[in-house]
Point group: C2
Chain length 280, copies 2
């Protein structure tokens, strides 16, 4: 797709990075930013000096593409208030880390009013807010689209081409499959990194090397957003935690027995899986 007008609503790190990356990918497009809070306008204008930014939702009018940057719990209300400014050809998507609940709250509102598809760019950092936004955030990042039986092939194609233009590696799956797989590969790591920080405590932080630093990096992320994500994907995160506890028992048991061979074998199984991951 080659959008003439792109609007990003409530941009934080991800929405801001979408706007920055889109400015590069679509140099002729008009980029518009909406924020609920007037006090956010200075940092939006500092990050995106060429965008039009404001607090009035009528800014959305005439957009070919609308990207919802708000947290999952805010998307239903925000989408409702957008309706007067959408047309049936407007492509609307989001950037949330959970998809089933977002699909439930957004899809029915937009049915027949706009072209909706959920997106989850698997990119980010422990930072938050638009000042942490980066135009290259989506380079080679997995971007998961979650079409349903109501999604047309054209909508899926347009959303795919948009994220590819931003540098993403696009995959698509159902919202339910998304939530199950992302629980394992993103929500569980966040949960465990947090647990690790609490267990290691603060007394030995002066000894922390790159191992601790990397293993726990995500735990510095925004707490209330992550609480919303974890609770929003509660059953799948709890299921992945069950797997985690099973693996923890088996590793702990090998360590308790002091069996070097058995422990090496388990460490090696994990190392083999981890080494299949292409280096960024």
């Amino acid at each position: 797709m080659n959008p003439a007008k792109i609007t990003v609503l409530a941009p934080g790190l991800i929405g801001g990075s979408v706007a920055l990356a889109a400015t590069r990918a679509f140099p002729k497009a008009k980029i518009t930013i909406w924020t609920r809070r007037a006090e956010s306008l200075p940092s939006i204008q500092a990050t995106l000096p060429h965008a039009e930014a404001g607090t009035d939702l009528s800014l959305v009018s005439g957009s070919d593409l609308v990207v919802l940057g708000a947290p999952p719990s805010a998307l239903g209300t925000l989408t409702l208030s957008l309706l007067p400014f959408l047309s049936s050809t407007t492509l609307v998507t989001d950037v949330s880390s959970i998809k089933e609940s977002v699909e439930k709250s957004v899809a029915s509102i937009l049915q027949g009013k706009a072209r909706w598809i959920g997106s989850h760019p698997m990119a980010g950092s422990e930072e938050s807010g638009i000042r942490a936004a980066r135009p290259d955030l989506f380079q080679k990042a997995p971007v998961i689209l979650t079409p349903t039986s109501s999604t047309t092939a054209e909508t899926l194609r347009d959303a795919t081409s948009f994220w590819q233009a931003l540098g993403g590696r696009v995959l698509s799956m159902t919202p339910a499959d998304h939530d199950q797989q992302v629980a394992r590969i993103s929500h569980l790591p966040h949960f465990i990194a947090t647990t690790l920080v609490l267990a290691a405590g603060s007394d030995s932080l002066s000894l922390a090397g790159s191992g601790y630093r990397d293993t726990t990096r995500v735990a510095a992320g925004p707490s209330s957003l992550w609480a919303e994500i974890l609770i929003g994907n509660q059953s799948q995160v709890l299921a992945s935690l069950k797997n985690f506890r099973t693996s923890l028992e088996s590793l702990t048991s090998a360590l308790e027995k002091g069996e070097a061979g058995a422990l090496t074998k388990i460490l090696d199984d994990a190392a083999k899986i981890r080494r299949t991951l292409p280096t960024s």
Copy 2:
């Protein structure tokens, strides 16, 4: 200290990086490398073209500083075979991740024969072997020295000045304190990163973003060395795992109850601890 001859024995990633960093820090010093295996000589010579490398322990003769790069389990035997080539002024140290057991196996052998102090540079990566060595590996890295009641002030001062010259941030503590604190800040994170890789499995790796990538990076490390480290510090690692399980129960319980406020509070406690860590 300003050593005229530095010998590194059995260099892998860490020992090789010591040799590279020492080449820069002490441009007039002679750097000598000993390896048990002749087949390692080509990669040693490729990494350290200006060093003298060989398989004969007599290479060690006349060294002001000897750095033992071998794994902890090999240090006792290696140290014994070194004795003919040491003098009472030679400073001998190691780079192992565990200190109490190394102290037991090495200190008594060197008593009166050389100046011994244990070192643990908290640097590394998931890579291993001398080809992964880097001259800047110790820049700003914590380096823990583990003096005991037998260590002279001069030995501690010389070891401190050596590691500082390589860029390290030197701390000192007893071997027992080292093993307790490093269990929390390094061995536990390795153990948990491994568990996480096994629990997340390999089916969803194509979705892995920077969160999974960083959280699990260390799990790609050398398995047999890590089995040796974890078993060598078994009681302290098991104690830190007990703390981990307590934190895991409390976080899991907040998630099960779906209490956003309680979960946010716990995530925020961890985020606050993690944010106190200076950025690299």
